[in-house]
Symmetry: C2
Subunit: 349 residues, 2 copies
């Protein structure tokens, strides 16, 4: 008894030591306790993309090496659409806006003839894509504003729980890319804090990011419309206004990162021209860096689009040749969905 | 040997269990390992303010009670100036702006006759205060913009390391209120995530919040000017523009909280009319709530100002009678510096 009593505090002392070293993100604990998983990235093929990730993590987590990075500086930022889940045949948020516009259409007869609303009501995806960013913003204003943040959250949550992807016939939340989920887990297990930095709406993503990606709302950065604090029937509410607050895309991404995180990432993951500046900003810091771009070159299992490498163009998250050239020049790793990913979705065999 | 080998994994298993329960914030570890501190709030007198805090924490952390709050929802927001450190004789950020304006004055002869710059150069605190928010913004634009975020951070860090408070003759960073430091630690030890939500500049605070308050940059919300991402001599930089991005004060505080945290706080701490909406928004959520206001009624040890309760008015973080009336009506706890705090600064005996 005496012996076990004296061992007990030693066990607790280990708690302290292990926690100080590794517990900042709770996920790290698993790594300490369980035998090191033989392969934390099982859905990745054994190619250059996977080895670059593993080597980078080894370098920044190696306390005695010259590339060591303190845990509080292990910031990794991820674009969402096309990087963590599909952006085709259209952005999920656009699909949500389309459903909202259709539901609201009876109160707006003028939409029958007015673009981009007409395109929505006609299910004309080509005209919708051609409406461009301006068109998307009009749809967002008409479908995302004029209600409280609480009402909007409830609309989004209901939609996420029921809307199905037109090709895969699954909830959008079931279509997170399995290799990226493993990457998120792997980074967090190694002391990283993972953020989403997306051109998508911040309040559209937040209701699902914890459950789907393990990323809490405070680590989600996105585009936003303005909100106004006011009393509604004696209760304070944040009302969503039809006015752009911030566009978290292209040069807006480093701005958003600086505003929300206040530290420069050491790793950044994207898939389109909207991510270029985020990778550039990440890469311009000193020390070990990892910049990666998902390239959609797998029409069989997901989609194939560029226009880089001669693949078809798209209105939804294109990967221009210029981005491919910059990736090659800067040493950014291009992830081929076809070659680097053994599995695309968790539902795949 | 065999026995100790079998005990070793048990120690590690304890790591896992203890971490899952308590390690989210590393500070929690200390509470698990060491005997429970007899009094985590030693700088607070045994009055109603202290007991309300302890009772609130007991309720939200009690897993079997009806007031239990899951750790991810234990969000506590703190105003900075006047709540965590002094806002008198003027805001620290204004003192910084004053020093910058004086340093830049030789390049701006027009400032000799132009308000609010003249007030700065004449050391006319009354005229400076009377210039109001508009005057403060002009000073901020002239002194905080036109450089990169990296240059600004370096200016602020240098200033924080050398500028001394005119009355206490200490670095500003040495003047954090000791009772509030204990409160921050106590909340974090009980699974809370602590945020600053201040009308002050977000990039003015971030260089010091981790060291002074244990709050990392990503948990600091404040007012901001716009930044622009651009190439400066071939390197990407975020340039600070002389244009307001966001004022995180009054009705801006719930807006900032929603934007940055995406969850409603369950505890909020302020000291002035600028904090009213933050406390109101916090209090309007369901479940256990704690709202507190620091009342500066101690001219001997710090400052005394209102105008509530007949104390003198101030230009820097006033506590109007109307706020006192609302506090009493809503059940917000008013902290009397004189009666509730045994010690003001860590340097006090």
């Amino acid at each position: 008894m005496k012996m076990s009593a004296s061992l007990f505090p030693r066990g607790l002392a280990l708690v302290a030591v292990a926690c100080v070293i590794a517990c900042s993100p709770p996920e790290a604990v698993v790594e300490v306790v369980e035998p090191v998983a033989s392969d934390p990235l099982t859905s990745w093929t054994d190619g250059p993309a996977k080895s670059e990730i593993i080597e980078f993590v080894r370098v920044v987590a190696n306390e005695t090496g010259s590339g060591y990075v303190a845990p509080e500086d292990r910031i990794a930022t991820f674009d969402n659409d096309g990087t963590l889940w599909p952006s085709h045949p259209m952005y999920a948020q656009l699909a949500f806006a389309v459903d909202r516009i259709k539901a609201l259409a009876p109160q707006h007869p003028e939409w029958q003839t007015q673009q981009p609303f007409k395109a929505v009501l006609d299910n004309d995806l080509e005209a919708l894509g051609a409406a461009g960013e301006k068109g998307l913003i009009e749809l967002v204003m008409a479908s995302h504003a004029g209600m409280s943040t609480a009402e909007f959250e409830s609309l989004v949550s209901d939609w996420m729980a029921t809307a199905r992807h037109p090709r895969f016939d699954r909830l959008y939340t079931e279509l997170a890319y399995q290799p990226m989920l493993e990457l998120l887990d792997y980074l967090r297990a190694n002391g990283f804090k993972t953020y989403i930095v997306s051109g998508g709406g911040i309040e559209f993503m937040r209701p699902m990011t914890q459950a789907v990606y393990g990323i809490p709302p405070g680590q989600v950065i996105g585009s936003s419309i303005k909100t106004e604090y006011k009393m509604e029937e004696g209760e304070p509410a944040l009302m969503r206004l039809p006015e752009i607050d911030f566009i978290d895309d292209k040069a807006g991404k480093p701005v958003g990162i600086n505003k929300f995180i206040g530290r420069r990432p050491i790793a950044a993951f994207g898939n389109s021209a909207g991510d270029r500046e985020m990778l550039e900003w990440t890469g311009a810091g000193s020390g070990a860096r990892l910049m990666m771009l998902v390239f959609h070159d797998d029409a069989d299992r997901e989609y194939a689009y560029g226009p880089a490498n001669g693949l078809p163009s798209t209105h939804f998250g294109g990967f221009p040749q210029k981005l491919m050239d910059e990736a090659n020049k800067q040493g950014w790793i291009v992830i081929s969905m076809k070659n680097d990913w053994r599995r695309i979705f968790s539902i795949d065999e």
